[in-house]
């Protein structure tokens, strides 16, 4: 049963991954990539890593939605419902990806994999937490604060403020793109 689920999820992950390049719509490409990641999350759950599996679902859905918003925002055809091809520079891309695949496949076959030592812990989530936050506490805290500061700083820079308040002001803004403000 588990073996069957593994192969089904693995095949679905690869299949939806291929679909990313085969479909003719930005949204379909985004959501087939999401489906591929969800299959990977299923594989993690299958391996007993419940926390990582749920986390992959959580992060990937949010990530893909934000990505879909930006992709469609920057595209030429309105809202991305017109068919369009998902690939360009076919020959170069095929060469690069084919070469990369060959190198990685060779790596898998040539590397001497270590033997399994020890047994899986009773609660992988707790062990993961200890591994991340135990000896590496300082690093994780610094990275966490740096990411939060970067996010807030980039939002502050992106929001255009002016003499008359914020751009999409709370009644006080005078932004032309908003169809004229209080002035």
């Amino acid at each position: 049963m588990q073996t069957f689920a593994f192969w089904a999820l693995a095949a679905a992950a690869v299949g939806t991954g291929v679909a990313v390049f085969a479909v003719d719509s930005m949204a379909r490409a985004t959501f087939s990539l999401l489906a591929s990641f969800l299959c990977v999350a299923g594989l993690l759950l299958l391996a007993g890593l419940q926390y990582l599996g749920a986390l992959v679902v959580l992060m990937m859905v949010m990530e893909m939605l934000v990505m879909a918003v930006f992709m469609i925002m920057y595209m030429m055809n309105p809202a991305g419902l017109m068919p369009m091809t998902m690939v360009h520079n076919r020959r170069g891309a095929l060469l690069v990806s084919g070469g990369l695949f060959a190198v990685m496949a060779a790596g898998i076959l040539l590397v001497r994999w270590p033997e399994r030592r020890g047994r899986p812990p009773a609660d992988p989530t707790a062990d993961l937490g200890m591994a991340l936050m135990g000896p590496k506490m300082l690093v994780m805290m610094v990275i966490g604060i740096a990411i939060l500061a970067t996010m807030i700083a980039s939002v502050v820079l992106a929001v255009r403020g002016g003499r008359y308040g914020r751009a999409e002001g709370d009644g006080a803004g005078g932004d032309g793109a908003n169809g004229g403000g209080a002035g």
Binding site: A27, A79, D123
Partner: protein
Amino acid sequence: MRESPVWAVVALPFALALLVYAAAALDAVLAGGGFRDPLYEGVRLLVQQRRRTLAPDRLLTRIGVVALPLAAVLGAVVVPLGGRAVADLTVGVVWFNAMEVVVWGAVWLAGWGANSAYGLVGGYRFVAQGLAYELPHMFALITAALGAGSLRVDEIAHAQGGLWFAVWMPVAFAVYLLSAVAMAFWGPLGHPAGNDLAGGAAVELTGPDRLVFLAGRYLLLVVAAAMAVPLFLGGDGGPLLPGWLWTLLKTGAVLAVLVWSRQWLPALRMDRFMTAAWTVLIPATLLQMLVVGIVVLD
């Protein structure tokens, strides 16, 4: 994961259906209608012919429509509705959070797929609203988990023997209720499907599609209300009455407040909500977490 009795699996759909109908009926009564209105509306939608738009993405729209109730039900499997959860995962809180984020995709797809400007705007509104409510919501969930020292929903519920988390984590509880309304795009945070957009993300949904989508929204509201009980309201604990009845009563009370908020509070624009969320709610929930953390370490 602990083994759950079979009756928990059988009882879950009935409990959910009952609460969904109760929520819809309460909303109809509060709006001046009768409690049988949702039934009539459901039958009407079931037999209504589908309206079609020009060049829609039918596959993605359907996926979005079906994903909404599906996400709610998958989130409900870790909620001990009636005593025991169907699947008491060791990381129940994270699972619940992951399932409710699927709603982002569902609403966006349903709004975008119809090739309609209003639907598209509604879908975008929901993603913006999601970016506003999700971080405070996560902090509120984690605060409850921190108070109990566990991500398992059952253990969080039973860590509140002495004092409900709602009492000594009021900020987290309030933020949880607010984000419950936001994730179900309901009432004050219903702008993604607002009247100013002729129905927003749901504008082009007709017939059974609309029925599934709207029922999914009520399901989300129900599941969010049901999750508040083990997280903040002491789970099935209470005097005299049996545990499952307490769970149901508490869920019903939270649900009634959430439903009532639609009549009671004005609609909130999500850009203002965004500002408030990032400048007020995130610092407030972080401070709440700090206080809880200090108490727990003591």
